[in-house]
């Protein structure tokens, strides 16, 4: 369902994890769905990610991590987003995030976690359905 509003998405790889196949496939799928996508590349610090989200005034932030370091890095990103007043950004995550960590991540502010095997259409529809209202 094509929308007229241009959705700006930031896809980020926090920490040292170097598996970028999924992040790149998702970035491309979102672009092909008509969104404007910024992909940060590897090895971003939470500070770099949040500053990019701020300057680019993104609607959506997707965090990808497969190294297990999400427990440290995701809360750090969410804290910094809050500090900068970016509480209206829709944040989702993907990669290898064990079931038992999901509720903790959601409590930190990550709205949805897309594990291995998620169809790209699912992510696209999720973004359309959950886009934050902006004035």
């Amino acid at each position: 369902m094509p929308k007229t509003r241009k959705i700006r998405v930031l896809i980020a790889k926090p920490g040292l994890d170097s598996h970028d196949r999924g992040a790149k496939v998702v970035a491309r799928a979102l672009r092909d769905a008509g969104m404007e996508v910024i992909y940060t590349g590897l090895r971003q610090t939470p500070e770099q990610i949040v500053e990019t989200a701020l300057q680019e005034d993104v609607d959506v932030l997707g965090l990808s991590i497969l190294s297990g370091a999400h427990k440290t890095l995701f809360p750090r990103v969410m804290q910094l987003l809050k500090k900068q007043g970016l509480t209206d950004v829709l944040v989702f995550a993907g990669g290898i995030i064990p079931e038992e960590d999901i509720s903790e991540m959601k409590k930190a502010g990550i709205k949805e976690i897309f594990g291995p095997g998620t169809r790209t259409e699912t992510i696209i529809q999720y973004v359309w359905d959950n886009l934050p209202k902006r004035n």
Binding site: G15, L16, D17, S18, H19, D20, R21, K24, V25, A27, R28, A29, R31, Y39, G41, L42, R43, T45, S67, G68, A69, K71, T72, L73, I96, P98, E99, G115, P116, G117, R119, T120, E121
Partner: protein
């Protein structure tokens, strides 16, 4: 391989079969798909006959095991003489914890070690580096100094066990540490056996663990190849890897072609150093993935050996047959394993492992069924090891050599993969070589396109992934997962602080100074790196010196 007359007869009969018997069957029931393609999108025919291998010359194209062109195997007796090495990639937490896992696996029957390092280590950072926060020991073992390596290998006899180390940018440092431990155990250096992955080229477009820019990275790789040729004759200085290329999204043909191209580049860089091909080529080793399409994988392994053998002979003029052989390690494919219904992964891994065995691998790692969820639990890794043992001892696959040879399909596919890989090789040659291709983003684009294509096929259900887009279950049964104790990071930091207090700081400064000067002069750095680790300079300190001399690589992003 077949008489021309006979082939004509077959062709006539096949055409008759297509006119008479086949249509009746098709009328009753259409084929399940309009087209059957393998993972490289190569169409797979309904039937293969002698026509498909008409030009095949047994002696020229297949030969005998242990002889050029090595298609049928690199050793004359293959698994009848010696089984492949069962080498499970492992590592997590502290050196002590991983040492325990090593001993467990050796007890359960693994025949060689393979070390997985954590992210800070593989990026050349100590456990106390800010970029490493939250990452220490999480997906590999943390090794910041020789002391960690000593604990890691405690009780492991280095004269009897071979060890593979998956390490690239800092490979020289880890190799130096291994040598230092060997020295302590009083094992003569000529007896130390193992492998350092040390394949920096593929980092730029596949595994992405690049520290330094391409040219100095190739130089570091070559330093190790040269050093081993002269001083560590049993050590495989490099494991030219296709596994990561495949996992990043490449198809089988691309995996084959890009890996071999990297191999070509390293042979060139070492020859440019002044070594003769026959001085070092026999110790070059390779590392491939084993993916889902069984026959495609078998064909890939066989084609790889033939391509390499011919290249070494014709392009590099090797004389010693051992310079032309391609020894390989295979790992079953991680990206094909699913988080959904994880026990299905045992089946996938079995098929993939069998393909590797029928493809003639020298060494094999089988993934654990919880691969898509966490690092392997003890139970999961045991099952993975048993998979290899069952194939080895119960399946009959090891009773004879290269049993699939002569299959019309397998031979036709082997030829086709060789042809397609050679096209890519020519393309990169025309571009000006691997480094130019990397700068142009050529490999990256090919891989990103293949990855996207594969995902579209799954999203659109043109490719079935059992448990994921078909045969799903409502609720998954949870399984026990391995969790790394978060205390690990604290312990590592405390150990590092202790080490820095206890070592001779002046000596460390001295050796690092010598290392820097040597790097600036473009000399082989191995001797200085060995001195540095023995003085207990840390991995991070050594890599930082090189960062300052060579600079850091900035990723070229191709989506």
């Amino acid at each position: 391989m077949f008489d021309r007359e006979k082939v004509r007869e077959v062709r006539k009969e096949r055409e008759r079969w297509e006119r008479t018997t086949l249509p009746n069957w098709l009328k009753q029931c259409r084929e399940r798909k309009s087209e059957f393609r393998n993972t490289s999108s190569v169409p797979v025919k309904r039937l293969y006959t002698p026509e498909d291998v008409e030009g095949l010359d047994y002696v020229r194209d297949l030969g005998f095991p242990g002889e050029y062109p090595f298609v049928r195997g690199v050793h004359a007796t293959m698994y009848r003489g010696r089984l492949w090495t069962m080498r499970q990639f492992s590592g997590f937490g502290t050196a002590k914890q991983t040492n325990k896992r090593f001993k467990y696996l050796l007890k359960e029957g693994e025949t060689g070690l393979s070390i997985a390092f954590d992210y800070p280590t593989i990026m050349g950072y100590d456990s106390d580096h800010p970029m490493g926060e939250g990452e220490v020991g999480i997906c590999g073992v943390a090794v910041s100094s020789l002391r960690d390596m000593e604990v890691l290998l405690d009780g492991i006899p280095l004269d009897r066990v071979t060890t593979s180390m998956t390490i690239n940018g800092p490979a020289a440092v880890l190799l130096a540490m291994y040598v230092a431990v060997g020295d302590k155990q009083e094992v003569p250096r000529e007896k130390l056996g193992g492998t350092t992955q040390n394949d920096n080229l593929k980092e730029y477009f596949a595994q992405k663990l690049c520290i330094y820019p391409p040219k100095p990275s190739v130089k570091l790789t070559t330093d190790i190849i040269e050093y081993c040729a002269r001083h560590l004759p049993r050590w495989n200085p490099i494991s030219i890897s296709g596994y990561h290329i495949r996992e990043a999204g490449a198809n089988a043909v691309q995996e084959l072609a890009f890996t071999i191209y990297d191999g070509i580049s390293y042979v060139e860089s070492t020859v440019e150093r002044g070594l003769k091909v026959d001085d070092f080529a026999h110790r070059l080793s390779f590392f491939f993935a084993s993916h889902n399409d069984f026959f495609e994988e078998v064909a890939k392994f066989r084609a790889a050996r033939r391509i390499w053998a011919r290249l070494m002979k014709e392009r590099f003029h090797a004389r010693n047959p051992r310079s032309m052989w391609m020894r390989m390690h295979v790992q079953t494919s991680g990206c094909t394993l699913t988080a959904q219904q994880p026990l299905n992964n045992v089946t996938r891994t079995t098929i993939q492992a069998l393909a590797a065995v029928l493809g003639g691998t020298q060494s094999l790692h089988t993934n654990s069924f919880d691969e898509a969820l966490a690092l392997p639990s003890e139970e999961a890794v045991r099952v993975a090891l048993r998979t290899q043992q069952i194939i080895a001892h119960e399946s009959g696959a090891t009773s004879t050599i290269d049993p699939l040879a002569g299959s019309y399909y397998v031979e036709a596919l082997t030829n086709e993969m060789e042809e397609k890989a050679l096209e890519y090789i020519q393309k990169v040659d025309d571009m000006g070589g691997a480094i130019v291709a990397i700068e142009k983003g050529f490999f990256q684009k090919e891989i990103a396109d293949s990855a996207y294509k594969y995902q579209r096929e799954i999203d659109e259900k043109r490719r079935t992934l059992v448990g994921v887009n078909d045969y799903m279950v409502e609720e998954e049964c949870p399984i026990e997962l391995l969790r790394v104790d978060p205390k690990v990071e604290k312990e590592q930091l405390a150990d590092l602080r202790k080490l820095k207090r206890e070592r001779d700081g002046r000596r460390v400064e001295e050796v690092l100074g010598k290392l820097r000067r040597s790097a600036e002069k473009d000399e082989n750095l191995m001797p200085h790196i060995i001195d540095s680790v023995k003085a207990y300079a840390t991995l991070g300190e050594i890599c930082e010196v090189l960062r300052q001399v060579y600079g850091e690589y900035k990723e070229l992003i191709i989506i």
